[in-house]
Subunit: 344 residues, 4 copies
C-alpha cells in the first residue's frame, strides 16, 4: 500500500519538481499540497505541465490533514519547517525539510547565518543530513531529514573522496560553483528577470554565502574533525537548471585520483564517475537525479581539479528528497527516480 505524502509550500520550483517526481512514484500517494495564498486552486492551473498527472488542489495548511500523512516535505522558505516540524514529528509523521532549517548542527552558527532565532534547536541533534552517499545508514532510521542545499550537494560529492582519503590539504580548498537561475526560486525579484539574467554571468555572495558553513560542516565530518579551510564563490549563469562545481585542492600525497573516485562511488546509484579526461556537462544530468563527476590533475601537477554537475532541482533538491524518502521507508533507493536525462 502506498504511503501518504504531503507537501508544504508547493508553489515554488522545488514544490513543482517534487510533484513531477511523486506523481509517477509507485509507492506514494500524493495526499496534500498546501499554499495559504492559493488554497482551492488546482495545482495544474498554476503548473499546466502537471495537467493529467496531478489532480490535487492547493489546500490551506490548517485543513490539509498533514498529521495523517506518513511523510511531509517542506518546500518552504527558510524558517517555516522549524515552526511546524515538532508537531508533525510528535504525531508520528516523518519530515523532510528541503530548506535549511535543520542543516547546521550548531544552532548559534545557524542563527548567525540565517539571521533569526532557531525555533527548535533541541531537534537539531536528531536531524539527519540527507546526503545518502555519506549518511545512508542513518537515513534509513531517520524521522527528520535535513535535505542538503544544491551547492553543498555538488561540492561535497566532489571533495569527499579526496578528504576522506587524506590526500589533499584540507586548508586550501576552493569551490568555484555556478548555478542556473531556478536556484533563486520562483520569487518575483528583479535580479532574476530574464532581461537581467539572460546573456549575463556574475559572481555573488563572495563575502559569504549561507552554503559555506553547510559545506564546511560536511567536509569537517569526513575529515574526522580536522580543520577545513574553504573558499566558496557562487556564480549565477544563464541556465534554467544545473549546477557545475569546479573544485581545486592541493595534493599532499601521491594519488591515482581516477581510481580514488571510482572506488569511493562504486555501487552508488546516483553518482557517476566519468572516464579520465572527461568534462561533464550540466545538461547530461538535466531533469535527473544523477551527479556526474570527473577528476583531473592538469599537466600531472599537484593540483586536483574536480568537476561535479547536478540538476539543482533534482539531486540538488526534490530528487534527493525522494531518494531520502525511499531510504526512510525501505523502498528501492531509485524508485521514482529512474529518469533518463533530457538532452538536448
Amino acid at each position: 500500500m502506498a504511503i501518504r505524502a504531503g507537501i508544504v509550500g508547493g508553489t515554488g520550483y522545488t514544490g513543482v519538481e517534487l510533484l513531477r517526481l511523486l506523481a509517477r512514484h509507485s509507492e506514494v500517494e500524493l495526499a496534500a499540497i498546501t499554499s495559504r495564498s492559493d488554497a482551492g486552486r488546482p495545482v495544474s492551473e498554476m503548473f499546466p505541465s502537471l495537467r493529467g498527472h496531478v489532480d490535487l488542489a492547493f489546500s490551506d495548511p490548517a485543513q490539509a490533514g498533514l498529521d495523517d500523512c506518513d511523510v511531509v516535505f517542506f518546500a518552504t522558505p527558510n524558517g517555516i519547517a522549524m515552526q511546524q516540524a515538532p508537531a508533525l514529528l510528535d504525531a508520528g509523521v516523518r519530515v523532510i525539510d528541503l530548506a535549511a532549517d535543520f542543516r547546521l548542527r550548531d544552532a548559534s552558527v545557524w542563527e548567525a547565518w540565517y539571521g533569526m532565532p532557531h525555533a527548535c534547536p533541541g531537534l537539531l541533534p536528531t536531524a539527519v543530513y540527507g546526503l545518502p552517499e555519506v549518511n545512508r545508514h542513518k537515513l534509513r532510521a531517520a524521522r527528520l531529514v535535513a535535505n542538503p542545499g544544491c551547492y553543498p550537494t555538488a561540492v561535497q560529492l566532489g571533495f569527499i573522496p579526496l578528504i576522506e582519503a587524506g590526500v589533499v590539504d584540507p586548508l586550501t580548498l576552493i569551490a568555484d560553483a555556478k548555478s542556473g537561475v531556478s536556484g533563486a526560486g520562483r520569487k518575483a525579484e528583479v535580479h532574476a528577470l530574464f532581461a537581467e539574467a539572460a546573456d549575463n554571468f556574475k559572481a555573488y555572495g563572495v563575502s559569504g554565502h549561507r552554503h559555506l558553513p553547510e559545506i564546511r560542516q560536511g567536509l569537517v565530518e569526513v575529515a574526522e574533525g580536522g580543520e577545513v579551510g574553504l573558499t566558496f564563490v557562487p556564480h549565477l549563469t544563464p541556465l534554467i537548471r544545473g549546477i557545475h562545481a569546479t573544485l581545486y585542492a592541493r595534493l599532499v600525497a601521491d594519488c591515482d585520483v581516477q581510481a580514488l573516485f571510482e572506488n569511493r562511488f562504486r555501487g552508488e546509484c546516483f553518482v557517476d564517475v566519468l572516464p579520465a579526461g572527461s568534462h561533464p556537462e550540466t545538461r547530461s544530468v538535466r531533469a535527473s537525479n544523477t551527479c556526474r563527476i570527473a577528476a583531473h590533475r592538469p599537466q600531472g601537477g599537484d593540483v586536483v581539479v574536480v568537476l561535479s554537475v547536478i540538476d539543482n532541482l533534482v539531486k540538488g533538491a526534490a530528487g534527493q528528497a525522494v531518494q531520502n524518502m525511499n531510504l526512510m521507508f525501505g523502498f528501492d533507493e531509485t524508485c521514482g527516480l529512474e529518469l533518463v536525462p533530457v538532452l538536448p
Copy 2:
C-alpha cells in the same frame, strides 16, 4: 516478451530522443542502433545523458542485424529510408520513418519539393501517415509508417477540428509557426550556432517550406477532398525544444469553438484542450508527448485563433513514433510515454 527495435541513424536529435524513450519502454528491447561513421563507439560516449541507461554501441548498418528486428526506426536524413525500407519490409520488419520519404502520397509532388527521384514510389500507397488522432485505425495494421513532420503535427492538430466541422473558410488559412533550434537537427551549420541563434528571432522559408505540401495534404484529407489554401510561415526561435503554432482561420458558420475542440479530442491521450482563454506555453509540454491547444475568437469576431504547442522532438518526432509503434504492436498507446513535462 519484448519486441526487438532497431534505429538507423542514431546520432541526431531524433535518434537520441528515441533512445531516451525506448530505454524505459517496458515492451521494447533495443536491439541495434546504426551509424556508419561511429560504428563501435558506445552510444553513451556520444550522449553522456544515456550513461547507465543505454549500453549499446553504434554498429555498422551492414552488421546490425536489422532484418531480425520487429521494428526499425529511421532517424535519418531524407532519402535514406526509401533506399532501405523495401528490403526490411520484405523481411517482415515493420518500418517507421521519422524523415519525409513516405509522407507525401504523390511521388511527383515529393520529388519537386525534395529535389530527388523517389526510390520506391510503389510503396507510397501502403504507407500510413502517422498522426494517430486521424489515422489510429489504419496505424494498428500498418507495416510502413510515415511519421509526421514537427510543424505538420502542431498545425494539423490545431486546424483539424475546424476543417472537419466545415466551420471555417479552408481557402484562407494562415499558420504562423515557431520552432526551437533542435528542429534544425544536430548538424554543424553556421546558422544554428549558439552565437547566431541565441537572442535572435527570424522567419525562414517564406517562399515555400517542405512542410507546406505535407500540411496541405493532411488538411485536404479531412476536408474530404475540398480545396485548401494555406499560408505557412516558419520561424526560428531561441528555444532548444518546442513548437508553437499560431493558426488563423475565418469562420463561415457560427460555432462554439471551445466545445468543438473539446469534443474532437475527448479521450485523446496526447491532445489536451485547455480551458477557454488559455495560452499554452511550449515548456508545458517539454520532454513529453502532449500537444496542448487553446482556441480563441478575439473580441468575439469571425477570426479563430488556435494556439497549439508540442515538443518538436517528442510529439513532433520520436514520441509520436513510439506512439505509432504502440499502435502497430497492440501495446497500450501511452506505454513508455507517461512523461511528466519538465518545468521549469
Copy 3:
C-alpha cells in the same frame, strides 16, 4: 549650445536606454533623471554599464528642476505623464511620453483599454503621434509627442505601404508579433523570470492587447478613414531585445510589393527595405534605431507576408524618442543614433 533634457522615471529599461543614447548625444546635456524611491543614488550604481558615461544621481521629482529643461522624457508607467505634462507644457517645456497616455486620440477609447480616467483629455488633440515616417512634418512643430508603442512601430511600418497604396483588403489584416522579454519592463513579476521565460514560447493577450487600438488608429489614418479589421496576437519569446512582426494581408490589386516598399521608404534614415526574398533577423537591428523590412508573396499568390524587425528598446522606445526630439529641435534626425547594430 546643448539643450537640457530631463527624464522622469529612469529606473526601467526605457530609462536606462535613453541614458545610453543621450549620454553620447552631442546636442544634449542630461540635466536630471528622477526616481522617488532611488533619489540620491548615482545612476551608475543601479546600472554599472553607465559608469564613466553618466555622472548623474537620481533626484526627487520635486527637486529635479524639470521646469528648467528644454525637453522632458517620461519613461514612466501609464498614467503618470498625463498628470505632470500639463504643468511642464505650461512652463514651456516640450514633452515626449514613452508611455501610452497620449497615444489614442479618443479619450473614451483610452479609458476603456487602460482602465482609468484620462487626466487631461483636452491635450489629446495637440499630441503628435511620434512615428516620424508618417508624421515627420508635424513632429517638427510638436510640443507634446506620444511616442509609439513597440509593437505598433513594427506593425505599422510593415502595413503602411500596403494600406496607403490601397492594394490590400484592410478588413482582414493579421499581425502575428513576437517580443523579447525586456518589453515587459524591469518589474519584478514571476512570468518574466528567467526560469519562466527562458526556453519557452507563448502567446498572450489574444483576447485583446492595448496595442491593438493604437495600431488600428494608425492604420485607419493612413487608410484615409476607411475601416480597418485587424487581428493582433503578441507572443513572448526568449529574447532580451527585439520585436519580429509577421504581417499577413490579402492583395486586392496586382502589385510589385518590393518596389512599393522601396519607394515608400526611400530616403528614410531608419527604415531599411531588404532585397526581395530576405528574412530580417532581430539581431540585425540589436541596439540600433533601424527597422528592417522584407515583403514576400509566397508562391506568387495573393497573400502578402511582411516581416518587420526592430529593437523594442530603441526604435520601439528610447531611440524613436530621441529621433522625435531631434525633429522637434531641428537637429539632424540621426544625431546620437548612428549606432551600428551589435552582432553577434
Copy 4:
C-alpha cells in the same frame, strides 16, 4: 587624413566586430577586407547588421591592395598571419594579429602548443604584446602587435596588480574562467550549436589550454622573471559575448587590495575598478572595450578573489586591437571606442 586599414579574414566574429568599430572610427578609412571564399560578396550581405554602415565587398587577398594600407588586421585562424606578415612589414605596413601567431616569445613553446612550425620565428622578438595596460609605451612604437587572447586579457588584468606588488604567492594561482560561445568563433561545429550550448555549462581543456602559456608568460614578466604556477580552467557558458574570470591567490603580505587595484589602474581609460564588495556582471561591459574588476578578501582571510569581466569580442579581441592601433598611430587611445555598454 584618415589612415587606410585592411582586414584579412573578415568572415568571423572578430572580423565583423572590427568592422562595427572601424566603421565609426573618425581616423580610419576601411580600405579592404579579404575573404578568398566570399570574394565579391558585399560584406553587408553576410552581416546585415552592417547595411548602411559598411559598403565594402570582400575581396580576394591577392587583389586587395593590402600593401597600400597603413595597417592590416589579421582576424584569421592561427597560422595565417605568420605567413603574410613579413611581406607586409617589409612594405611598411603595420600589422596587428588578432590570432596567436606572435603572442609567445619562445617559438618552441609556440610550436608545442599550436602544433605547427612557426613561419617566422625571427619576428617574435619584434612583436609587441598588445596589452596597453602593461606595454603602452612599447605599443606606440610597434610595427607588429600580437593582440592578446580573450582569456589572457581578463586573467592578466586581474592578477597583475597583485603580482607586481609581490603580495601573493605566485606559485599557487588559480584562474577559473568562463566564456561566451562566440569565443569559439563562427565555425560550423556541433559543440557550438544552439541546441548543444544553450542551457548547458561545462569546463573544457582542463588538461591544458593554449591560453595557459600565454597567461603564464605575461605573469612571469610582471613578476620580473620569478616563477609562476597557474591552474587555468576555462568553461563554456551560454552567453553570446562575455568573459568572467574568477581568480584566486594567496596573500603573503598584508595588503589593502582595494587600494592596490585602484592605484594600479588609476587613469586607465578601459579598466574600471569597482567599489569594494562589488560583483561585476559581463553585461555591464557588453559591446564595450571596458574591463571591470572587483577584488575581495572573503571573511577577511588570506585568499584574494578577483572578479574580472570583459566582452571577449571587444576588449578580448577587436576593441583591444583598435586600442592598440590608436596607440601605434598616435590617435586618442579611446578614439572609436567611446561605446556605452548595451544593457539590458
